[in-house]
Symmetry: C2
Subunit: 286 residues, 2 copies
């Protein structure tokens, strides 16, 4: 298995990856091309560009200067906070971005072109599998401040998800609020300590694109381990009967249904699971 993964890494990432980069950076350096892409039609604040592309602020500044000189972007202050500056594409920039877009399409199409229709279907399906499974494999569980933009986007996705699935809709204001959180890009959950060796899990959620890959189970396990590490001897949680996958996840993870322990407006099921003491205090393996 490892040999197959290595072969894949070598062939696909090196060959196709290099092809990809060279395609994109025909006229301009790759860094600039990526930046042009990331600014998008709407424009974007520099800080968000830095976060997305992982660039040094000095470096970003220089890259933008060079795009500005080429007449591709303009940079102006943000109205609400004038320390922040916003980059916007000019008409030339938009056109250039469209060229990059078309090149990406062309490259993708040229990969498919030599194949028969059934091979194309197989390739695209296999690509989707690889992408999903790799994404799942690369998920790291980490605690994040609820004010973090990643956490924020989780909240939004989570609430709109609930709103869609609950027969009655979902209004965050009617639900119990949550003080401490643990969230990351495609999934999140929060843990709340309630004294007397009891912890409560709230707001656990996995993005639609990452479902069916065991991410929920991993997240649940991490939250339990975290709770156990802080002395909790049991975890409780409540959920809505519309969330059937969640309910079966809880059951299969060793939770058993208990009588209501709170008055959460949207809950129809309450679960509890005893925790075994953590092995030592901080010997969990990565």
């Amino acid at each position: 298995m490892v040999a197959q993964v290595r072969r894949f890494n070598r062939i696909v990432t090196q060959r196709v990856g290099a092809l990809n980069d060279r395609y994109l950076s025909r006229d301009r350096p790759l860094g600039e091309a990526r930046l042009l892409w990331e600014i998008g039609a709407e424009g974007r604040d520099l800080r968000s560009l830095r976060a997305r592309l992982g660039l040094d602020s000095g470096y970003l500044s220089r890259l933008l200067r060079s795009l500005e000189e080429a007449g591709m972007v303009t940079i102006g202050p943000n109205q609400s906070d004038r320390r922040i500056r916003t980059a916007r594409l000019t008409a030339t920039g938009v056109a250039e971005r469209a060229v990059l877009d078309r090149r990406s399409d062309d490259l993708a199409a040229s990969l498919l072109a030599p194949l028969s229709p059934s091979q194309r279907t197989r390739l695209v399906g296999a690509m989707a599998d690889v992408e999903r499974l790799m994404t799942a494999a690369m998920v790291e569980v980490a605690a994040v401040d609820p004010a973090d933009p990643r956490a924020q986007s989780c909240w939004h996705a989570y609430f709109s998800d609930l709103n869609r699935r609950f027969g009655t809709g979902f209004d965050p204001a009617r639900s119990a609020s949550v003080p401490e959180e643990e969230v990351r890009a495609p999934a999140g959950g929060s843990l709340r300590f309630r004294g007397a060796g009891r912890a409560e899990i709230k707001r656990m959620w996995v993005a639609e694109s990452a479902r069916g890959l065991g991410v929920g189970r991993r997240l649940l396990g991490e939250l339990e381990a975290h709770a156990a590490g802080h002395g909790a001897r049991s975890v409780r949680l409540d959920t809505n009967s519309a969330l059937t996958e969640a309910i079966s996840l809880y059951r299969s993870a060793g939770y058993s249904e208990v009588p209501p322990f709170n008055d959460e407006a949207y809950a129809q099921h309450w679960f509890e699971k005893p925790l075994s003491a953590p092995p030592g205090s901080r010997t969990a393996r990565s």
Copy 2:
């Protein structure tokens, strides 16, 4: 479909590719690491290194100098042609290469580690599919000199393949020899003109690793188009009855069995296919 391919290109090649590179180039620049890898345990001529890695000769020279100073390689003249120099790994170099090897394994293993056994199986299967289909899609059909190393390696693989499959073994000397060739890495075939609007295909072969992907059909089509472009109005070929896939390929490509037209020692079947005139003379689309 194109959208899925683009997403794959972006996410998988960029993310995993970058991870891969960073893993490999922990202590030394990526270029040196790749070079160390490519020299291999046996040593290798500089010209072949340049060809493999696509490096400028000056650049390669400098990279090697740096590895030489680090005590990883020695460079000496080739015995048969003293203009050519051969790079060889020292004991230190071999050890370093083993470290790189282990890192590659570790990276691959770490991608699999977070997944459940069934997910691993699915991921590895999907990777194999992507790899094979992409390889097939990137095959270019091109004429190559038979002295070219790629062609040479095809000959060897081809002959040992036949030797394995023919009940009687295969001795190239007993088979008709071939003067003009058209071959490339995972597949090859040669075309021979016999006057009177007739062409003959010999030595058509597809590497085992590329079979089942339509490469043979594409190659056959290209050879026919080439023949038609040179005025041939039919193509003939002979084959051995052990090569069942080849025979069914020929049949499905419109060849019909004809009486023996030569005395090839290893042939039991002879085929012919009429060609339609090429559309214009050189308007074939790429």
